[in-house]
């Protein structure tokens, strides 16, 4: 199978994720979209690793997974805390940092 198809898939996934981040209000969904983008990037890394025949891309993918896992932990904790205090998971409601 042509490895470039994986790149197309990664591009589609990344676009879906990016659009999701911009258009959705629910923090959980936005968060999932961010994960989608990260995984699209991972897919691209692995694909390039395959194309070039080196292991660098795969190693980077592992790093990304670890960082993403940490990010999930912290991010979810923040979302839960905000939900507890404000009774809302909408990202537009949490716009206090503007001033």
């Amino acid at each position: 199978m042509n490895p470039y198809n994986y790149l197309y898939l990664a591009g589609i996934l990344f676009t879906i994720g990016a659009v999701g981040v911009v258009v959705r209000r629910n923090a959980i969904v936005v968060f999932m979209c961010v994960e989608l983008m990260l995984n699209a990037a991972n897919l691209a890394f692995v694909t390039f690793s395959r194309i070039n025949g080196t292991l660098d891309g795969q190693v980077t993918a592992f790093f990304t997974m670890v960082v993403a896992a940490c990010e999930v932990v912290v991010g979810l904790a923040i979302i839960v805390t905000i939900y507890r205090s404000r009774r809302s998971a909408s990202v537009d409601d949490a716009s206090l940092l503007k001033r």
Binding site: A18, V22, V23, R25, S95
Partner: protein
């Protein structure tokens, strides 16, 4: 040239006194004045020792030097802090330390009731040390240090009673006008270094033959400006009258006997420059001639006894400057007049201080009168100084002033007649204003205020005056006797010393003319003041000349119109430029940052999604840009 290791003590002793008294503070209040007087006296003793040593050597190697340390050493430029004591400087050393010590003694009593007496003595010692450095430095640069030192001491002492704003202003005026002269001296040093490559007296004298006349004229004119500033000569004379704000001993020491004669020293020390630059020498003569009449005219109208004496000082230094522009014969008479003037003017200033002491610090002569009955010793000593300054033989001033008048006539041609006439006129006016001062103070009818109780001053004040008045009686005769001073100073002026003298008039004729001038001046003054009732308040309906003289011939008005007002206008302009242009630019940058900040702030909505969208758009634009560029 011989070296001596004890020259430094001349300067070190009073300097130690100044440092001890200034750093010791109130702890030294009890004995500070005694220490200062003793150290000044010690310096005088060292001076006498040096004179004795000098007399023991042959004429040609009487000068001694002492190298203290290597001061500046940059590449080829080397300046040692070295002292040079020759026949010229020893005259000054003995005058400064001798008169200085007497004035220290006088001040012990005069300043007894001033709670800052210790500070006063510290400044006096600082002055003595600086003045000695001025006359002992072996290069223009060393002289400059002393030159600035005496300026500082003068400033501090004029403003000694600076709780009175007018006195503080007077000290500032003196300082600022001195700065103008100092600028002349620093330019002279710079030009000398640029063209001759050295700043030492010996080096400049050696190199002067190779330099162009233009360069030497420039140095000379700059030196004249320096001398005019320090010696209160035209056109920088306006500060001296106000300098009388200082305590009277200061006026006697700094503004009559020593510091104001530093300009004469500078010109005579630089004789090799003026000999080679006749136009600069002519400027010296012109400055001296103008000032001697200028000061004398001011002196005729002053009612303040100290200001009248200050105007007289200005005029007498004009005589010295005039003489120091008339070649080797003139130099000798300039120095002789400087020394005799140091005696009689210091004695008269101290006498004026004694009068003020007895009259509740009143300085207005119209409120004096008939004081000879109450202050006999002050009257006699003052009278001796008076006879000396107007030039009655055999008192000191006769020999020195007569010499200057004679030298002026001998200048040759029209110049000789003009200068001789000016000096004779000056002598007549001197006789007039000094007689006026004597009559108003001592011999006319009493016009005291009701609370005045004139009394003779204590012995501690009278003894120094008496010693000085002995000097004002005898010094001229001693200097003139067998051409003593002339032969003494001859080696300093090199080969020029054997200048052939041409007499326009026989000396006896000149003396007769000078005495006639004196008699005319004295009789006019006697008629106007002794045999006519003197008003207690200065009359208003007087001639335009008197009014001008009372206003110092418009010197302050002139300075104000020509220098102060335009200077103020420039300052105001500079301030406007600073506020509008420079501050405007700085504030503009600030306002621009604030404005762009508040405009950009609107994009910070706080909505995470719009940020994300912006990041997305930015990334796409960036990638597109890269793509376009790399295609």
């Amino acid at each position: 040239m011989n070296t001596s290791s004890s020259l430094v003590y001349l300067i070190a002793l009073p300097l130690i006194g100044a440092v001890t008294l200034l750093l010791g503070g109130r702890r030294t209040d009890k004995w500070g004045h005694l220490l200062a007087t003793a150290l000044s006296g010690g310096s005088f003793v060292v001076g006498l020792y040096q004179l004795n040593e000098m007399l023991g050597r042959a004429t040609e190697d009487r000068a001694v030097t002492q190298k203290l340390f290597n001061w500046i050493s940059v590449g080829d430029f080397n300046v040692d802090a070295s002292l040079l004591l020759d026949q010229l400087s020893i005259c000054f050393v003995l005058l400064i330390t001798g008169v200085g010590t007497l004035i220290h003694i006088y001040s012990i009593s005069y300043m007894a009731h001033d709670e800052n007496r210790r500070r006063f003595f510290a400044y006096l010692n600082l002055f003595i040390a600086s003045m000695l450095l001025l006359v002992l430095g072996d290069s223009y640069l060393n002289l400059y240090v002393g030159w600035e030192g005496v300026g500082l001491a003068s400033y501090l002492l004029i403003g000694f009673w600076n709780q009175k704003p007018a006195y503080a202003t007077a000290s500032k005026k003196a300082f600022v006008m001195n700065r103008v002269g100092d600028m002349g001296l620093s330019f002279a040093i710079m030009i000398a270094f640029a063209t001759l490559g050295t700043t030492s007296f010996a080096g400049v004298e050696e190199q002067a033959h190779h330099a162009s006349e233009a360069a030497l004229t420039a140095i000379g004119i700059m030196l004249v400006i320096a001398a005019a500033g320090k010696s209160a000569q035209f056109p920088l004379q306006a500060w001296l009258g106000d300098a009388m704000a200082g305590p009277t001993p200061v006026s006697a020491l700094i503004h009559a006997a020593t510091m104001v004669t530093a300009g004469v020293y500078l010109i005579i020390r630089s004789n090799f420059i003026f000999e080679a630059a006749p136009s600069a020498q002519l400027v010296v003569v012109i400055v001296g001639a103008i000032t001697l009449l200028f000061g004398a005219l001011i002196g005729t109208a002053k009612d303040d006894i100290k200001k009248a004496l200050a105007a007289s000082t200005m005029s007498q230094i004009g005589y010295m400057i005039l003489a120091s522009g008339l070649g080797p014969v003139g130099y000798v008479y300039a120095i002789m007049h400087l020394l005799t003037h140091g005696f009689f003017k210091a004695s008269m200033f101290l006498g004026a201080g004694s009068v003020m002491h007895g009259m509740n610090d009143e300085v207005n002569m119209r409120k004096y009168g008939n004081l000879r009955k109450f202050m006999p010793i002050t009257f006699i000593t003052f009278g001796l100084g008076y006879l000396a300054i107007i030039g009655v033989p055999p008192f000191a001033g006769f020999y020195s002033k007569d010499g200057i008048i004679e030298t002026a006539f001998n200048a040759g041609g029209f110049k000789g007649y003009l200068l001789g006439g000016i000096t004779l006129l000056g002598a007549a006016i001197t006789a007039f204003y000094m007689t006026r001062l004597m009559v108003l103070t001592f011999t006319s009818k009493a016009r005291w205020d009701d609370d005045a109780h004139p009394h003779e001053s204590p012995a501690l004040m009278l003894i120094p005056i008496a010693i000085l008045s002995i000097g004002s009686v005898a010094s001229g005769f001693l200097f003139k006797q067998g051409d003593a001073l002339k032969n003494w100073l001859k080696p300093v002026f090199g080969e020029h010393g054997d200048h052939h003298e041409e007499h326009l008039f026989e000396p006896i004729v000149v003396s007769a003319m000078a005495l006639t001038a004196v008699v005319i001046g004295v009789s006019i003054a006697l008629k106007k003041y002794q045999f006519t009732e003197v008003a207690k308040v200065a009359p208003e309906n007087v001639s335009i000349f008197t009014r001008m003289a009372r206003k110092d011939l418009g010197q302050d008005a002139f300075n104000e119109a020509v220098f102060m007002r335009p200077g103020q206008a420039i300052t105001e302009l500079a301030e406007k430029v600073d506020v509008k242009v420079i501050d405007g630019a700085v504030h503009g940058v600030g306002r621009m940052a604030i404005g762009s900040g508040s405009a950009l702030r609107k994009t910070q909505s706080g909505f995470a999604r719009s940020y994300a969208a912006l990041i997305l758009v930015g990334t796409i634009v960036l990638l597109a840009g890269i793509w376009v560029v790399t295609q």
